[in-house]
Subunit: 249 residues, 2 copies
DNA sequence: GAGTGGTCTAGACCACCAT
DNA sequence: TGGTGGTCTAGACCACTCG
């Protein structure tokens, strides 16, 4: 008995060959997107999933381990397999690369400056890679580390995915967990483009630096579990006592 | 028959438990460090390795796949398992994050400005995390993309690991491949600390920018296969048409 | 066709956690 | 003590590459 359950669907679409465990990975990922299990919830064990999907336990194991490497699931021996949440220590720091020089990583607090629904600016539209006249929420925030303002960020969220934001007056400090719990949008990949720039008068006013100082500008596009670009963000970061950390292995 | 070959060694050192495949991974990695197989060379197949190490083929497979994820090996179906080289397309770009805005990634050329053996500067010593009076080679280079100078870099290499550099007048453009083939030092991990800074008179002269322009400064520590810090490098990068790209998944 | 890695399965046993 | 994931093994078969 080979590729018994998933092959039919896929062969209809003209896909030449996908290993069973890849099909199981995609299937489980899709079930998570559809919220069969919410973040933090436990999946059935390997044998139950294997039976449900008509494959062997070893194949399920390989698929679940793949999703674990991708940080979509987390597994604990003796306990079970869980949908990852953007709350535990690991996840929280996964997308926070700005660090105070010589200190341990720390999560910044955020001060909300404004939140409004606007017609998408041209540079933001380009980031989302779409055309036309979408509406986006523009969120302006200042981030605080060490009791000083270190980052000024402009965040753009497509109205389509974030309708319920309308009228909101306050936001939590950690937005990615907020997206996940309130909008069923789990940030799964980011692309950061980092440049250096000179502080403008606005930067100087908001961050307490001098006009003409050097700042880091980080442009980030964040993608959700199902691959949609759900957030574009421009961060202007003080660089006097802070740096952006990249560890490659 | 369980953990038959490696457990003895390890239990003597007081290590409580390591899976067989982890032991095999470390063993194979060590053999690569010792140059039993050089970069680009093919390993014996799974069954031969399994027999040599006294474990099953499945365990060898899991170990080799682990080293493949770590990019220490590369496997090609129908061909064999090879020690990774810093020459193929993937490897070359693995540690080159500076990209011209709106263009496809491209490898820069390098112009050697100077190479001398010096007493280690204080800031460099700190990067290597050692104490005392080590000697290091200081290499100054300008990197070229799009027919313009875009990066000025200072590279520091401990004399201990790079003795044969003495008297050298020329260096290849791609240093990591050079380290690998000439010194048996494979770069396996890097830590980049990115800051913004203002161009000095020296920067302006070397990069053709104006004094006071914003530059990216990247401080990198590179580690070899066996974990030694083998290179410290400070890159000052034009940011007008270039950016540092980080993709996180 | 011969040889390699890749997939899939099945089963025994171990390590860890909760109760 | 029962249930979970983790390890290890063995074997059949598939997909790919190359001479």
């Amino acid at each position: 008995m080979k590729n018994n359950r998933f092959d039919n669907k896929l062969s209809q679409t003209g896909v030449v060959f996908q290993p069973l465990y890849t099909q199981v990975e995609n299937h489980v990922k899709q079930l998570i997107v559809e919220q069969r299990w919410k973040p933090g919830e436990m999946l059935p064990n390997e044998f139950q999933l294997a039976e449900e999907l008509g494959v062997s336990q070893g194949t399920v194991r390989k698929a679940l381990n793949g999703l674990t490497s991708a940080k979509i699931l987390s597994r604990r021996q003796g306990v079970g397999t869980f949908v990852s949440e953007h709350t535990n220590q690991d996840s929280l720091y996964r997308y926070y690369p700005i660090i105070c020089d010589g200190k341990a990583p720390e999560l910044p607090k955020a001060e909300l400056l404004s939140l409004e629904l606007i017609k998408v600016p041209k540079n933001v539209l380009a980031a989302f890679g779409t055309e036309g006249n979408m509406k986006v929420f523009e969120v302006l925030r200042r981030r605080i580390l060490n009791n000083e303002f270190c980052i000024f960020e402009k965040i753009y969220l497509p109205h389509t995915y974030f309708k319920a934001l309308e009228g909101t007056q306050e936001l939590p400090h950690t937005l990615y967990h907020f997206y996940q719990t309130q909008f069923n949008l789990t940030v799964q990949a980011t692309t950061d483009r980092i440049k250096a720039d000179i502080a403008t008068a606005e930067d100087a006013r908001l961050l307490g630096v001098k006009k003409g100082d050097a700042l880091l500008e980080v442009q980030r596009i964040a993608h959700s579990l199902d691959g949609k670009a759900i957030e574009f963000r421009i961060s202007r970061c003080r660089s006097d006592n802070y740096h952006y950390l990249v560890e490659s292995t």
